[in-house]
Structure formats: C-alpha cells, structure tokens
Subunit: 179 residues, 2 copies
DNA sequence: CTTGACCCTCTACCAAGGTGGATGGTTCAG
DNA sequence: CTGAACCATCCACCTTGGTAGAGGGTCAAG
C-alpha cells in the first residue's frame, strides 16, 4: 500500500504518516525502485491506534515506547513491567476523575443552572478541591510544573515572607495606575 | 491575596497565574494602588480546577468556555445545554475507551509478554480496530485534522516554486537511491 | 538608604504535534 | 506526449501551554 492510500484509509494527512515514521512511531517503510514507501496492511490498524491513543491523552513519546515493546515482542521484564503498572495506576485515577466529572455534569444537566446562586459550580468544586490523597498523577497533559503545594523554585520561587491582605492607602503614582 | 501566595498555594509558577489571567481563565484581578494584583481566596480552587481539568485532557479553550458559563450563573439554556450534553457523551465514550485500555493493560500484566507470538499487542488491537459506531469523538487532543476516511483535501493538489536549498547534488535519476 | 524579596510589563523562546510550501521525480489516462 | 495525481525531500511556520529574561517599580527590614 502506498502512503496516500494508508492516509486515506485512516483519515489523516499524508504528511502526518511521514511525520509518524520520522518520529519512530511507524517502522521505516520499505521502498520500491521508485523510492515510494510501501506499507503493510497492518499499518492501518497501527496508525488508527496512534490516533485513538492520542485522543485518550497519551503522548507520542509514550506511544513510541509502548509500540517499541510491542514490536520487539520482548518479555515484559522488570522496568517495562513496572512502567506498565504505574500506567495502570494512573489510568485508574484518571478514570475515577472522569467519572466524577461525569457525575457532576449529569447533576448539572438535571438542574436548570450551573451553580446554586452562591458558591461555584459543582464541577469546579469537584475538581478544584484540595487533593485528599496524593496519588501520583503524571498522565495525559502532565507537564513538568510544580505539583500540589510544592515550592516552585523557579521564577518567583523562593521562600518565606507572607503578607496576606490588602492594606495600602498609599501614594497613587506608578507606571500602571490602572483600576 | 497577592499573586505569589496564590501561586504558592496551588503549586504553580507566578507567571502561569498571569498567563491564565491573560487567557481569560481567571477574572481580571483587581489592583491595589501599587498596581499589584489582588486575588480572592476562591481563586485557589479555581486554579486548582484548571490544573486538574487539564490533566484530564480538557484544553484551556474548553475550560475558558466552561468557566465563563459558570461565572455568569446564567441558566443552562439551549446552546450551552446542548454543548454540555455533547460533552457528556464524549466523556462516556472516553471513559469507555480508557476502561478498555485498562482491561488490556491488566491482561498484559497477567501475561509474560505483550503479544501472542504472532499478531499485534492486544492494546493496539483494542484501540486500533475499525470504529464501529461513529460517536463524535472530539475531545482531549482532538485537532482539526481530517477525520475517518474523509478526503483530506489539503496538501497534494498544487505546485509552485522556491528559491532556497541551493546546489543540490542531484543524482542522475532519482534523489532517494532506493534501498 | 540600601538590600532583597516581591511585584509589574514586554518580548523571546521552547517542545509537542503537526501544517504548508517549494521543487522535483514518477505514473497513468487520454 | 501531456497533464493530473501521486510521491519524494527539506525547510518554514502555526498553535498550545507555558518558561525565561530584561528592565524596572514597591516595600519592609536592617
């Protein structure tokens, strides 16, 4: 199968297929005498898998690692197995969170408006409340940002000093002077 | 509360808070005479909500829309309600998908290796197979790419000229010199 | 009155995940 | 044989969600 047909079958752009190959998500395709790539039929499933997994919040990096293990058909030994176990835990946490959001959303649809006149929306509360159990959440869009009340030692991250509230009826000349 | 304290409490960078304000995810903070932002205590919950929702695959754009509705405390009328209903359907599909992945992953951990010697990994199959029911999956990382066997009417339809890339050592016949 | 921890604005830049264009070779129908 | 529809390469650019730094004001303690 040529690249165009593969792309058409999955519903992605040709350039995306090439991008995936370059990124190591697809095995380097064999080439004909004309230099054209020739893809096996199984690549349809594989590309479809990539798209679906991406929608579920897996990054291409994770997928690359995962597919590499799958391709090697290597036994699931120590490190990889441990990684899989961690992924499973993440997955469970994630499913739990999404279920909470679903519950809140269902409640919402049963009511007439988002929030009781005072206080925030139940969905905001459901997700925004203090974390009760620090389950290692490092999935999906987890960036390398500081996590849950840790000291963010970068850019305006030092220590100490607290001056919690307003109390400055002072001079009104600054650069901004906006209300 | 000043920006630094808010950032510290949630565990994000100060610049991230400013970024959220600029992106319309937080209401524009009131300013003191010195120009410093002054945040309400409820912003802690709100920012925490944003982080958690992001981890769950919501984009900042979705969150902006959602929070706007929540802030207005407007009744959930036609369009917004419809949107919420669609989100709920997406959510259900997503939870179902993640559950499938979880099942596959559990199976995987019970076995010794990823796949039976022939054929691909069960997880790849579980996600990569032909879509059976075209439920509108437009969540999480859904980009504006072509979808499911549509004609990707972009790229590969025109030609033109360029000037960069000088002095290429073009081979007599082909550029790629096949494998 | 200086120092250091804050705060402000603005501009640049980064990584991920592509998208699009320029330039050119290949294939096939008419 | 010609034109379109493909295929190839490389390079530039876009969006998202931030980060980092320059340049400078504010404020409390020493």
């Amino acid at each position: 199968m040529r690249i165009g047909e593969l792309a058409r079958r999955v519903g992605v752009l040709v350039v995306t297929i090439r991008f995936y190959e370059a990124e190591g998500l697809l095995p380097v395709a064999t080439r004909g005498d004309n230099g054209y790539r020739d893809f096996a039929a199984s690549m349809v499933t594989r590309v479809r898998f990539i798209r679906r997994a991406q929608e579920l919040g897996f990054t291409l990096g994770e997928l690359r690692g995962f597919l590499a293990v799958s391709d090697l058909r290597a036994p699931l030994d120590g490190e990889v197995r441990e990684h899989a176990r961690r992924k499973l835990a993440d997955l469970n946490a994630r499913i739990g969170d999404l279920s909470r959001v679903r519950g809140a959303l269902e409640t919402l649809l049963r009511r007439r408006r988002c929030a009781p006149p005072e206080g925030p929306c139940p969905i905001v509360l459901a997700l925004g409340e203090e974390p009760r159990q620090p389950s290692t959440r490092t999935m999906g869009s987890a960036k390398r940002g500081a996590e849950s009340s840790e000291k963010p030692r970068n850019k305006y991250g030092s220590v100490a000093s607290n001056s919690s509230n307003v109390g400055r009826p002072s001079s009104p000349r600054t650069k901004w002077t906006r209300a």
